[in-house]
Amino acid sequence: MTADGQWLTFLALLLPFAAAAIAPVLTKALKHNAAWLLALAPALIFLHFSGFVGSISEGETLSAGYVWIPSLSVDFSWFLDGLSVTFALLITGIGTLIVLYAGGYLKGHEHQGRFFSFILMFMGSMLGLVVADSFLTLFVFWELTSITSFLLIGFDHSREASRRAALQALVVTGLGGLSLLAGLLVIWGATGVTSMSALLASESALRDAPLYMAALLLILGGAFTKSAQFPFHFWLPNAMEAPTPVSAYLHSATMVKAGVYLLMRLNPVLGDTVAWETILPLFGGATLLVGTLLAVRQTDLKLMLAYTTVASLGLLVMLTGVGSEKAVEAAVLYLVAHSMFKGALFMVAGLVDHESGTRDVTRLGGLRKAMPITFVAAVLAAASMGGVPLFFGFLAKEEIYAGLGFAGGWTAFLTLVALIGNGLMFAIGFAVALKPFLGAKVETPKHAHEGPILLWLGPLVLGGLGLVSALVSGLSHQLVSSPMSSAVLGKPVTVTISTVPHIGMPLVLSVVTVALGILVFAMLERGRTAMAGILTAIGWGPDQGFDQVMRGLTRLSFRVTNVIQNGRLDYYMTATFVAVAAAVLIPMGLYDEWPTVPQFPRMPFYEWTVLLIGLIGLGAVIYARDRLTAIVSLGIQGFAVALIFMLLGAPDLSFTQFMVETLSVVILALVMTRLRLSPTDHRPTGEKVLDVAVAGTCGAALGLMLLRVTQVPFNTELSEFFSQYSRVIAHGRNIVNVILVDFRGTDTLGEIAVVMIAGLAILALVRIRSVKPLAENKEEG
């Protein structure tokens, strides 16, 4: 890639964040019409990435980037192949429509600017995630999607349900993110590469690594939580608390597809093993069934779609896990189809809600006259979802059945699962698309009529695309499906399926699916009642489990806090000093660094006297019976220290210590005369013994350490440097002072700043007037 191209791609990755920064201001100025301008950002990025489609469809891949932390071989780099470019196009293409849709949907909302900002940031994170090459870039963007989706889901933060959903999504996907990080680190450790492109080039290095299983499970932990696989599926339907543009975006092309993206990306290096081909179809299949069955239970349009999204993700994971050429092609086709029809259907649901005031499917009907454009969009999208011939979803479904292969045993079972899932999704899709519009007109909270262009543009374009892309299937395969499948499989393949039905097993299964779908559609009411009964009978699910875990965590941390932070200072002090003693003694014991037994020091008599005075002062402080004795004793030990400095060739220290001790005694006396305090000890004997033990051990430990330090050879380099150059360079004969004001002047500047801040703080403390002068009254009274 040329330097220009690299620069442009970098700009494209930054653009969403830049747009997010100006969105609030722009929205303040232009109200909801800011959407038209803001939608330019994703549209431009879409154009930029579509420029790569040509060369990538010819089998090229591009990787580029900038060095970030060379010492850790971390780069900010990206990798463009069929998979990442397709994702980038879906993210920005649907993103453009979503921004426009949000302009209409949140028209007049007081925080619309904030909303644009959040959704553009999310778009940028998602875009970065899918094009990331280095592991760290991938992880950073992965976490950014978790955080920005938290903001989006909790957008309506005044409602508790919203807050709960946001927190739930953050906790589940955040935990998954940690698992992913661990997985990436394991891969790094096992193969020594730090980027996707290098990993993909390493062929089967990872599969043969002894840590393969650990890496696989950790990566799956990240992917399954993000893509809402059973039993982590519960956060996705709850995330429907978010405004509809968020649901339409997060749950069609982006957030939840991140996990699927990761699996597809790693398929060439992690896949094609027994573990991969067992775990993925198992969890995927379970998710598919659970998702569709729960979807039947719902009456809320958005929740119905949410559960089918869970199901679709299960289907995608299952197909990726099967891993055969056809299965992967099917996954690719279905992923693209799903992004379009699910985005459209969510927007339709939001539109119906926006115009009629309800999205309860049992309270809607007969809107086709009032909202004809919406109706058309809904039918187009549902047809693709149900896999009706001539639509892109049909291609996907044919390929699914061809890919699963129904060869008996395991695959036959998977085929059956896919059949049931697809049939139920067919029913739900048409229930969402038809029930609100057909039948007799039902009175709705708001008088329904067609929404503005901002609202119906998105679903109509996406619904239409589902038809057009299938009609020109040769072109769509050449540009999108084949390069993407090749990237997922790690070898060049060509997708050939077209809208012309082939006579064969897939077609038969398709017909069965449609038949099953129509049957369920007709019996939807009865199925709903039955499912409701079953769910009430079970009573507990992961969703309630989440609440229980969170409550348990709160209780646990409350108890732990009560024990650790019990508010008693002596307890904290004891713990601190025990830790200090342990930190000094244990390493000395472990490495056998005890000081050697010293000789009895030979010192002049006066030096012994000074030391003795200090010790007497210490003893007097402890045994002082009144405050004056305590203050004077404190002074004695201080002056003894000053004398020690004096005797040992430190006149500067000695003077300073004398002045400081004098001032300490003075201010202590000033304060203590005001305080009616007795310095005598009231500790019970048991506590005294403990405290003496702790203090004695700690003191002995620090003394031993000091003794040990003085027994090792002393490095005089610095002291000699200062002695040599103090006069010559710094023109000063008092070396201590030269160090303070010249050699280490910046340190001293910081220190005098501390002195001044302490002075200010003290002044502020003295000046504060008591709110309720409790003690003062007592003293006066």
Partner: protein, 139 residues
């Protein structure tokens, strides 16, 4: 504490201590002494004056608020550090010059001004604390 003798002696004692503190400050580069010690001596001087004669005479004598003196000292120290940047040498590099005062050559340096800044910070902060506490004593 406020005996007649103490009150009479205190102003003279204070003046002497402050003179001594300046002496200690200025000789600090070559002999024992320096800004920290000088500042502490001066602060003790004001504290003694405050104990003997009350806080308001000290505040009058100081004229500026002690915290303002402290702040000024920090400013002086910082500026003498920054001054070296004007001569294209790194922050805090000592600059020296000789000036002649009444025929006597005197070494002037940014280092000296830095030490004066230290002196003023210590003097101001600690005097401020001592006076604040004494004020409560008498107030």
């Amino acid at each position: 504490m406020r005996t007649l003798i103490f009150r009479t002696v205190a102003p003279y004692l204070t003046s002497l201590m402050i003179l001594f503190s300046i002496f200690v400050l200025l000789r600090g580069h070559n002999e024992p002494g320096g800004g920290f010690i000088g500042g502490l001596i001066a602060a003790s001087a004001f504290a003694i004056y405050g104990i003997a004669c009350g806080v308001s005479p000290v505040r009058r004598a100081l004229y500026f608020h002690p915290m303002a003196i402290s702040g000024f000292g920090l400013l002086v120290s910082a500026i003498s550090g920054w001054l070296s940047l004007a001569f294209n040498v790194p922050f805090m590099t000592g600059l020296w010059t000789k000036v002649s005062v009444l025929g006597v050559p005197v070494d002037l340096s940014t280092v000296l001004f830095f030490d004066i800044g230290v002196y003023l910070v210590v003097l101001g902060s600690i005097t401020s604390v001592a006076l604040a506490l004494e004020e409560r004593e008498h107030g």
